[in-house]
């Protein structure tokens, strides 16, 4: 699914990712943990194609193709999905319009028939319900005035609608209380189908109680300094990050 090799990336001339290698096979769940500022969001953003991150060396193969060649929207259409750490508020564009435009673009690219408005509406309502979101929330501006939990669940909602192959979740757990966390985790687990892959970026291991990863990697100063199984997360929780750096 994804092969990252010796990835080095800069922001404003400052090296943030310092030689990252990571292989994610179909159906796998990888957790990336690490202290604040270690480069977790940067990695997620580089994979999603955000401007301002300059890849200096290394490569990223996604489904056998060079991912770094693609525009962000092309990556999304090809099935890469980034759930933002800080989802953006867009007043004046309704969540419904936004979701529809996004699903239309992705389906068109995949040669799937366009969903007409009623069909889309129905689908979006169902997904809302499964994420305990009030359907009224589709009429509101994108993330406008949403609580932290609502914003994160909105990301999961988008993910559910777009049916990506590779899901990057950047601190989807932060700012969620335990109930909201469970709902979000259920939303993610519902998408696990043995083919779809996940990279969970998180600072705390709490999320991993609900979404059980196959692998855990520890990122520090832009490098993966340790990899292991699920137990590594528990160890990190008990000992903190300092023993690893």
């Amino acid at each position: 699914m994804l092969i990252v090799k010796d990835l080095v990336a800069e922001v404003d001339g400052k090296t943030i990712l310092n030689g990252i290698s990571l292989t994610v096979n179909p159906g796998e769940v990888h957790a990336i943990m690490g202290p604040n500022g270690s480069g977790k969001s940067t990695l997620a953003n580089v994979l999603a194609g955000r401007d301002g991150y300059e890849v200096k060396s290394g490569s990223v193969l996604y489904k056998g193709h060079d991912l770094l060649e693609l525009e962000p929207e092309e990556r999304a259409r090809e099935g890469v999905f980034l759930a933002f750490q800080y989802p953006v508020e867009i007043p004046g564009v309704s969540n419904m319009q936004f979701l529809k435009a996004s699903v239309d673009a992705v389906r068109k690219h995949r040669n799937q028939p366009e969903l007409d408005s009623p069909a889309f509406m129905k689908l979006a309502r169902e997904k809302c319900k499964s994420l305990s979101l009030n359907p009224d929330f589709l009429k509101r501006g994108v993330n406008e005035g949403f609580s932290g939990g609502e914003k994160k669940r909105n990301e999961i909602l988008q993910m559910a609608l777009l049916e990506p192959s590779l899901c990057l979740l950047d601190e989807t757990d932060s700012g969620l209380d335990i109930d909201a966390l469970q709902v979000a985790a259920e939303g993610v687990n519902a998408l696990r189908d043995g083919q779809r892959s996940f990279i969970l970026v998180t600072h705390y291991q709490r999320l991993l109680n609900y979404i059980v990863p196959d692998y855990v990697h520890v990122l520090s100063a832009g490098k993966i300094v340790k990899s292991g199984g699920r137990e590594l997360a528990l160890e990190l929780e008990a000992k903190g990050y300092s023993w690893i750096q």
């Binding site: 194609g49 929207e73 999304a76 980034l82 933002f84 007043p91 004046g92 564009v93 435009a101 996004s102």
Partner: protein, 439 residues
């Protein structure tokens, strides 16, 4: 092109059949005394009236015939409203539907008014507007031979909105259209007014000079929607003058497209305590349009509040001006006044001048003012793109979203629909978005 002075002389020499019963006979001299906008006039600094001087608009009055099919297609679907349609300033009965309110004496043409109504007109006309500063209002006054009186009776809530449509029809040669509205809301009256400025066909030969005066007597409430979506070739100068007595409530939602020259003056004066004014607007200009918004809030009495919020969308080679002045007089203690103007400037060749002004002579007040000019937000664009939406469509959606935030506040679904349709057409033809707009 003639000089501004010659233009004024020509305007003063117009043959005019002013309504004989109008008392404020000083109007001709008021017009003569009014200051002519030149490059040195602060209030017109960024809006030269060149467009007005290039064609001989004063040569004739615009004809009042409109293509009926086109005219009907312009109307908003306000089924229960009392509709008054003016074509180039002249009432068109066939397109209008307001007999209920006409029979009740709530709406009347000046020319058909009864003695009581005439007295009302004479009592209020021109009182909300300082003619020496508003040359075009003075000009409007000086030639006044018709107008519309809306008289909301005391303690009554008008169930139907009053829907005024000002339609411009194409002219073979340069021509002038003037229109005038006086709204008097008696104590405790409550109503909704929709003013919709629109056109059928090119307005290349039209100069529309309009004045609306609003007098709110104690405890009156008015909701006012203003939509200006005319053809871009038009020259339109518009004065809106509002007087608010004690405990009145005025709320405005407006949208205005730019044109060859468009000037909107909004002037609010508090003449009593405890009054509240809320003004929400958005202006858009593209191509080589010009739009100038001048707001002036005279807080002359204590305990009044005003909240003014404007957005501007400026692109291509257009020019836009926003000037919002809050003037808090010495006695106006406990005033609360806020004003802001947020703009999206999309093109390097476009120009925007925004200037919020705060003049405070009282010491116990709460005020804020601010303006900002920005481009499309990079984070928002990436958010769209990361969801598979191409950059061009993302830009288009963000622009529409920027404007929509104001449109959503218009308290009328029918007008929201009308505005949405017109906005789609507007954006469809923005040079910068032309190749991009895929909706």
């Amino acid at each position: 092109m003639i000089s501004p002075n010659d233009w004024k002389q020509q305007a003063l020499n117009q043959q005019h059949t002013r309504l004989p019963w109008l008392h404020n006979a000083a109007s001709q001299s008021a017009f003569a005394a009014a200051e002519l906008p030149t490059r040195k006039t602060e209030r017109w600094k960024y809006s030269p009236i060149t467009a007005l001087l290039q064609q001989d608009y004063l040569a004739r009055s615009a004809s009042a015939t409109a293509d009926e099919t086109c005219a009907r297609a312009r109307l908003a679907d306000l089924s229960n409203a009392s509709r008054i349609v003016l074509v180039n300033g002249v009432l068109n009965r066939a397109l209008s539907d307001f007999s209920d309110l006409e029979n009740q004496g709530v709406i009347t043409l000046f020319s058909m008014s009864n003695p009581e109504q005439r007295e009302l007109v004479n009592q209020h006309l021109g009182t909300a507007c300082n003619h020496s500063q508003h040359l075009f209002a003075a000009f409007n006054d000086s030639m006044l031979n018709e107008g519309l009186l809306i008289h909301a009776p005391a303690m009554q809530k008008l169930a139907q909105p009053v829907y005024l449509v000002y339609l411009g029809a194409p002219q073979a040669e340069p021509a002038l259209a003037q229109s005038r509205v006086l709204l008097v809301a008696e104590p405790g009256a409550e109503l909704q007014l929709v003013e919709h400025f629109d056109s059928c066909g090119s307005q290349a030969n039209l100069f529309h000079n309009h004045v609306t005066e609003i007098v709110l007597q104690p405890n009156a409430r008015l909701r006012h929607i203003r939509v200006q979506v005319e053809d871009e070739a038009l020259v339109h100068i518009n004065g809106l003058h509002i007087q608010q007595a004690r405990d009145t409530h005025y709320e405005q939602h407006g949208i205005a497209f730019g044109s060859q020259l468009k000037r909107n003056d909004v002037n609010v004066t508090f003449t009593g305590e405890n009054a509240h004014c809320e003004i929400n607007g958005v202006f858009l200009s593209k191509h080589r349009q010009h739009i100038d918004n001048h707001l002036n809030l005279e807080h002359a009495k204590p305990h009044c509040t005003s909240n003014t919020s404007f957005k501007g969308f400026v692109t291509d080679e257009s020019r836009a001006v926003f000037n919002g002045r809050i003037h808090i007089h010495k006695d106006a203690q406990k005033t609360e006044a806020h004003l802001n103007n947020k703009n999206l400037l999309l093109s390097k060749k476009a120009e925007l001048n925004t200037k919020p002004e705060l003049e405070i002579y009282a010491d116990d007040v709460k005020c804020s003012h601010g303006a900002s000019i920005g481009q499309l937000d990079e984070k928002s664009l990436f958010y769209f793109q990361s969801r598979g939406i191409d950059k061009a469509s993302a830009e288009a959606m963000l622009c529409l979203g920027f404007v929509n935030e104001k449109v959503e506040q218009i308290p009328s679904p029918a007008i929201q629909q009308l505005v949405a349709d017109r906005l789609a057409a507007f954006f469809n033809d923005v040079d910068k978005l032309k190749s991009l707009w895929g909706m």
